[in-house]
Symmetry: C2
Subunit: 317 residues, 2 copies
């Protein structure tokens, strides 16, 4: 399919670089300042090398991107919460032009799900957002295939940064502050880590799941959220002596969203280590279905986007 | 969708009973002797009660089933290997009438994959077989969505009976023969357990995966197979002292299919307990994706069939 990619951060770059190998053609690529549009296919490597050397991607504008003959808009810009902009406006513009949209961006589907539904319902284009939850793990597609009404609850570990910190604190008996500093050096945690360690990222993902399970109605303000900032080595050591450990678990059950540090058995699936993500789907007729894998990173997130494209193809070819 | 169900064993019965709740209508149901056909919808509970009381399901024949206005044939008959009959003929007849087919039956896709592909390619109907591998775990759909060429290898535990036996032998230090007898009493193992404990069931599932990854070319004779019949308590105890355990692992990698008892870390995902199944998909760009859940049973297998129906709907509505 012909792709227009908005955003040239790690996700946008990975999608651009892997598109050809997945049978797609990038005909537009934009960062926050410039864009390159080429109906015969953008020279992705050249454009990204320009960007790396602080040279503009190309001499086109965002308006030019929306005017080109793209079939699918890949929305991977950095987006603020609450307003969900600029992603929301980009999605709206593409859907109103009857194009498909694949999101890598939690804001719009967490904070403005119902607004998006209205716009998507009136469009011939489809809106997909596998990449917003659990990186390379096909959580949203699996929920879609099983069918929301056959799902009783969902819980999981959906933030790699928090999980990395908890895993390493427990394994090496290192303090929260120490491991956070390490994670920041490794690029696993942001300079301001609140979004991850405070549970907000996990909560947003749970809000998206809740919206899909219930057909909308949830936003971040509906989630009860507790982060991992106050987990002590004492608590981890005590857990350990009972073969337990602590994980930041997000749960969607009976119309409620809870994110909190939780005791889990070290033998249980939920005790995944490092930056792994895991989700457990309690189904009506097939017991608990568990999915685990890489929850973040350019490659895994791009893979989720290609999975969405594959499903669009199944629907529309 | 309007379903015709062939086979009234645990899977056929579960599909029939759960169809209405999933938005489908059963218009034909057949066991090996009789059938009931009703274009307004079969009274499933009544028919199954008849069967339980040794009364014929209805007064129709298999020919009547194929003449009714079904949209999807659910093939859940017991089928012999190699010839893959009678399932193969049923599938052929339905596809040649441009109907969809959903399989619960490993034989045809393991032993006659290429023959089926030819028939399916000429049909307006689609052939799906999620339920043949891993019960309620959406393994085949996930492979389809990721795309075979983005998958490097697949390995997993795909036979609940063997896994139940190994888990219990290790946990209670009981002999293979003792636990096998228990499993037979519980209905977890067949009277002749060779198909499960000898690794044949696992191998068939691996053959199906290999066929999908490579577009065909594999049958059971291509698999190297070793079962669990000779695993001793001594071997399990020795493993245990190194924090390892033994699992019957099937693997598809580089065009080869191997099924054998394998040492796995007790902390690894592969050390699932009881009748659980698990699969690890090594992807090109998203690391290892792990799926785990109920690998057998009426409910989980029926759920896989409904998942296929859901995907047919996405394709054709």
């Amino acid at each position: 399919m012909k792709l227009a990619i908005l955003g040239a951060g790690s996700v946008g770059r990975a999608v651009a670089q892997l598109s050809e190998a997945h049978g797609h053609s990038v005909i537009a690529l934009a960062d926050s300042r410039n864009a390159i549009v080429d109906s015969r296919g953008v020279n992705v490597n050249e454009a990204l090398e320009h960007k790396m050397n602080q040279i503009p991607l190309g001499d086109s504008s965002l308006e030019d991107v929306f005017e080109c003959e793209y079939e699918v808009l890949i929305e991977a810009t950095p987006t603020t919460l609450e307003s969900a902009e600029p992603a929301f406006s980009h999605i709206k513009q593409a859907l109103e032009a009857d194009r498909h949209v694949v999101l890598a961006n939690k804001g719009p589907v967490a904070e403005r799900f119902e607004d998006l539904q209205v716009i998507a319902d009136e469009s011939k284009g489809d809106l997909r957002f596998e990449a917003t939850v659990g990186g390379g793990i096909p959580i949203m597609s699996t929920i879609e295939d099983i069918g929301p009404r056959n799902i009783e609850s969902v819980k999981g570990i959906l933030n790699g940064t928090s999980n990395f910190i908890l895993t390493r604190m427990a394994a090496k008996n290192l303090s929260y502050g120490h491991v956070l500093a390490e994670a920041q050096e490794l690029g696993v945690a942001e300079a301001d880590p609140t979004f991850d360690v405070g549970g907000i990222d996990t909560a947003l993902k749970c809000v998206i799941i809740a919206n899909v399970l219930s057909g909308g109605g949830f936003s971040l303000s509906d989630a009860k959220i507790e982060g991992i900032q106050h987990i002590s080595n004492h608590a981890l050591n005590l857990s350990d002596s009972y073969d337990l450990t602590i994980r930041l678990v997000g749960e969607v059950a009976q119309g409620e969203i809870n994110v909190a540090p939780t005791l889990v058995s070290k033998m249980s699936d939920l005790s995944v280590g490092g930056t792994q993500n895991i989700i457990q789907i309690q189904t009506a007729h097939a017991g608990v279905l568990t999915l685990a894998g890489a929850g973040a990173g350019g490659g895994p997130t791009a893979s989720a986007i290609f999975l969405d494209l594959q499903r669009l193809k199944r629907d529309y070819v």
